[in-house]
Amino acid sequence: MINLNIIIQHSSMIPIYEQIIEQFKGQIVKRSLRENDPLPSVRSLAKELNVSALTVKKAYDALEESGLIVTVHGKGSFVAPFNLELEKEARQKEIESELESTIKKAKHYGISNGDLQELFNLLLEG
């Protein structure tokens, strides 16, 4: 069984299954979890993290939906083949939305487009 190194903060306000998902994603992107690696069973992960099995199930379901893991009935869950395109796309989208919200904020503060572009170029160089 893979040692997952997933750390959950029970006291955090962030829902636990979100924490699980984030940690998983992180490990997959970092490649400490590789393609076809078997995931621990729902219950054994639940036991390790001291959370209910349903919570872990939800996290696994969400991960499966985003294509990061694959569940084979009767065999368990495995890390999905690393889809480079998917990853690239996801990352692109992430940056896109962050830039969008920054631009929105800038407009809100009254910064002109020109000033914003200048700022952007400055940061890119530095």
Partner: protein, 284 residues
């Protein structure tokens, strides 16, 4: 697996009135103060009591007509009821083998007794409460039962042993994917770790039925002053009780209040807090 439909039973000082279901591969925790009907509910499910109204179906059959084979699929623990304490574990083992034959896993049972340091040849009456509790749970898990009904299974155990027991329970559930548990306890932290669903009972009635997940992640306790309370959006407030500082309010949409009232003190929902706010007993 278990279906309780409109169960009504008048008892000493409460009226049991509840409905709920437990599917396969679910762990459900039952929480409530002493004397609200938890043990009565267990006894009704096990056919030791007859309800005034309603029906209870276990394994698809009415509990009034459970066959021996059905009963062999159940594992039970009660806090105050067990085999005669004149018996030793070795003797109880003999009874179990005669009762469950091949289903009783003697080798594994011995192993676990060893691990939990339970002596095989001492009379149970000479065991400490903790040891008796461990034994009861081990027996419930010793014969491949599909459904465990555990009434206060961890009372009297210190935190380290409790964790070990809960671990064993998790392992037991991990062995097959159709096992379910109904567990009642006062120790909320145990339930929060183990249970998929929580049922809160007060005065014989179910006051909350919720995924543990939701309870911990979306429920919250708002601690507000009188002033803040009066200007608070009431739509997501489930209950509020007066406190020395003003009010403690229960919400199931913690995020809403986190986002819209960034200045209020908000705490994560925990089973204890939720119970205290929903149960009767203090002015609202």
């Amino acid at each position: 697996m278990l279906e309780v439909k409109d169960l009504k039973k008048k008892y000493n000082n409460f009226q049991l009135d509840c409905s709920f279901r437990i599917e396969e591969d679910q762990v459900v925790g039952l929480v409530g103060r002493n004397g609200v009907g938890k043990t009565t509910l267990f006894r009704s499910i096990l056919g030791l009591l007859r309800p005034d109204e309603g029906e209870i179906n276990l394994f698809g059959r009415s509990v009034a007509h459970l066959t021996e084979a059905d009963k062999a699929r159940i594992g039970v623990t009660f806090p105050h009821s067990f085999f005669s304490e004149q018996l030793t574990i070795a003797e109880i083992k003999q009874v179990m083998i005669a009762t469950y034959s091949a289903q009783f896993n003697a080798a594994e049972f011995d192993q676990k007794c060893n691990r939990l340091q339970l002596p095989l040849d001492k009379k149970v009456k000479n065991f400490s409460t903790g040891m008796q509790t461990k034994l009861k749970l081990l027996l419930a898990m010793s014969h491949e039962a599909d459904f465990l009904l555990l009434d206060e299974p961890t009372s009297g155990l210190d935190v380290i042993v409790r964790n070990e027991i809960l671990g064993m329970l998790q392992d037991y559930l991990d062995q097959k994917n159709n096992r379910s548990v109904l567990i009642s306890s006062h120790i909320s932290s145990d339930l929060e770790q183990l249970c998929d669903f929580i049922i809160l009972i007060d005065d014989g009635k179910i006051i909350l039925q919720e995924e543990t997940d939701n309870l911990l992640n979306h429920y919250g306790i708002l601690k507000v002053s009188e002033q803040e309370y009066s200007s608070l959006e009431q739509e997501f407030i489930l209950a509020a009780k007066k406190r020395s500082y003003g009010y403690a309010c229960l919400t199931n949409e913690r995020r809403y209040y986190q986002e819209n009232y960034p200045k209020i003190a908000i705490e994560k929902g925990s089973i204890d807090e939720v119970l205290m706010l929903l149960a009767k007993g203090e002015e609202q």
